[in-house]
Amino acid sequence: MMKINFNHIGTLQAKVLTYICFTAIAAFSSCETDDEQTVARSTNLVLSEEFNTDGAPNPAVWGFDIGTGENGWGNQELQYYTDRTENVTIQNGVLLITAQEESFQGSQYTSARLLTKDLFEQQYGRFEARIRLPFGQGIWPAFWMLGADIDENPWPGAGEIDIMEYRGQEPTVLIGSVHGPGYSGGDAISKEYILENDRFDTGFHIFGIEWGPDFVNYYVDDVLYNQITPEDVDEETDGEGVWVFNKPFYILMNLAVGGTFVGSPNAETQFPQTMLIDYVRVYEFDERLFNN
């Protein structure tokens, strides 16, 4: 009898452990949204913008484009970019880029565009950001890169790598692209990724590329969804396009409103709309990881 009792108690303890595990799982799956995904394989972190200090982003890393550019930054975008707190600020460990509907300097909307031109430029590596996107017709956030020689070598010659583009009216669709001479604008080499049973505007997701001498790999969270190589450029452009991704690039993050890529906002588009960036991290390229 004693033995049976002990056995029974042993079973009970095992069950208790199971129950504790269960409750712990329940707690995380329902209340907590902030589980840190870690998907970077490269280990040498060279830029780690965590946005942990409230206020303006670090001026040693981030500059701003101000105004409307030429023809709405080439895309007939409707916003006026500023560096005001209303459009860009760090709060509670998150960088907020906010598009406002307001009359400002002749534009109907304001927003912000940050860039690391002349401040942080790198050739190859892993570039990633953890972002929660806004939503609604005519909302166009992006996390992207331009060739650092753009002043001497105008777009599309300088090259462009779009790590994340998204249309607010398609809240489950991510677009990753490269632009270069012979494959730019509407002819960019591009791929969409559709998030199943989830959306990009309800939680944070990691958007990243791993970029090496002859490839750009596109990731969302832990999913590799595209690889673009010089062969793809050749194929898509009948040999006319040139691979321009063997030189340093800088990073841009912006939230555009309207323009040819998304169309204008409509009466149902809610403002303000905010893009929340938890971090931007850049790792050095580690050739050993890509030897296979």
Partner: protein
Amino acid sequence: MKNIRNIHLRFIVLFSLGIAIFTSCERDFSDDVQFATFSSNGDIFTDSPVGLTDEFFDSFDPNEGANPEGFGTDDNEAFEGSSSIRIDVPAPDDPDGGFIGGIFLDRGDGRNLTGFDALTFYAKGSITATIGEVGFGTDFGENKFAVTAQNIRLSTDWRKIIIPIPDPSKLIQERGMFFFSAGTQTTNGFGFTFWIDELRFEKLGTIAQPSPAILNGVDVVQQAFTGSNLLVNGLAQTYNLESGINQTVIAAPSYFDFNSSDNSVAIVNELGQVSVIGTGTTNITAQLAGVQATGSLEVTSNGSLDFAPSPTRPAANVKSIFSESYTPDTPINFAPNFGGSTTETVLTNNNGDNVLAYTNNNFTGITFDNTVDASGLTFLHIDVYVQSAGVEVGLQIRDIGANQELETNTTNGLPQGDDVDFRFDLTGLTVGQWTSFDIPLGGDLATQKNNLGALILTDGPDFIFDNIYFFTE
């Protein structure tokens, strides 16, 4: 042994409570909560009904025009599998009934739908008509969690329809699996057929950005009185779908948590019914699943409203428009939504007596569903109450002529076509009491008053009407 078994039981209870507390962030259960297990199967119709009552389709009342004959299944049409639901929408003059509609009920005690976020199905039409209403939660009982989406556009190919659940956590035991109502409003009276397949509750994960509304999202200001009862209506929930479309559904009051900012002025219950109990101002607002609804109702009560003087004229001498004392001669519409009108009109129950309360009037009217033949009558009676000095109301008694159409020159507001009117200003009103008017049917009405069709009301802007009727001495 007995002792150990008790311990074991206690752990199970603790385990259950743990789950209850942790899976919901905002809700506490009492210790004596019972966890009933209702089916969480989301399927309603695949190739055959799933877990529905034997009759499957429960039609609306044929006595009210519903056609119970047009419902069936079709083995020649299916989005997936071998069979679909086929609904033949009748013409308005169909002898079996001029529209079709009804519900599907769970054959058991109801289902637990808390794990889903939408009702979905595939639909296809014989023509690109619209289905008037589609939803769930209607059970021909309390309809406590009824949800309706309106004007579902059909395609002549299969198309997926998504009806978001306003707040799935409420649906722990729902019997109303499906609801639809369809007529020929969009097809000029021509009947059509539509098919429904793969009807089920689903967890899509892409239903997001809730934007609930009360009073259709409008901030309404309303005068009221101690004892009057108001209803918060215009209840809706809007979700953004994967397609980018904002899908709005009409949601039953029980999805909302209503709040009154001053419970000494008015209280509001779980059905959105407001009872004014004191003097002062209160703001009625609501939340749905923790999200603040747009729209609000600001109620100002100046105390109790006296009853208007009781009419004493014999019913034989009266054709009534609005009065508890007489049988109405015609149904009326007191919110005709004239273009440019800023008026808010509310039928208010004042301790059992209905009055019409007008707020912020520039112009509105009371239109009669059937014209009133006042050939043998000589006066219009109306009782008017105002709460502030200087209020004057312009009243136009309109005969809309043989063509039975309200015809107004939109430039000068005068009747045109075969319409005529007589105009009278309600002036000399005393604050805080009822003033009664007996207005002669004079002017152009002296020779044309057999098709009285409307009362047009201008200015004010805030006033209350009761006992509106035509009579002869």
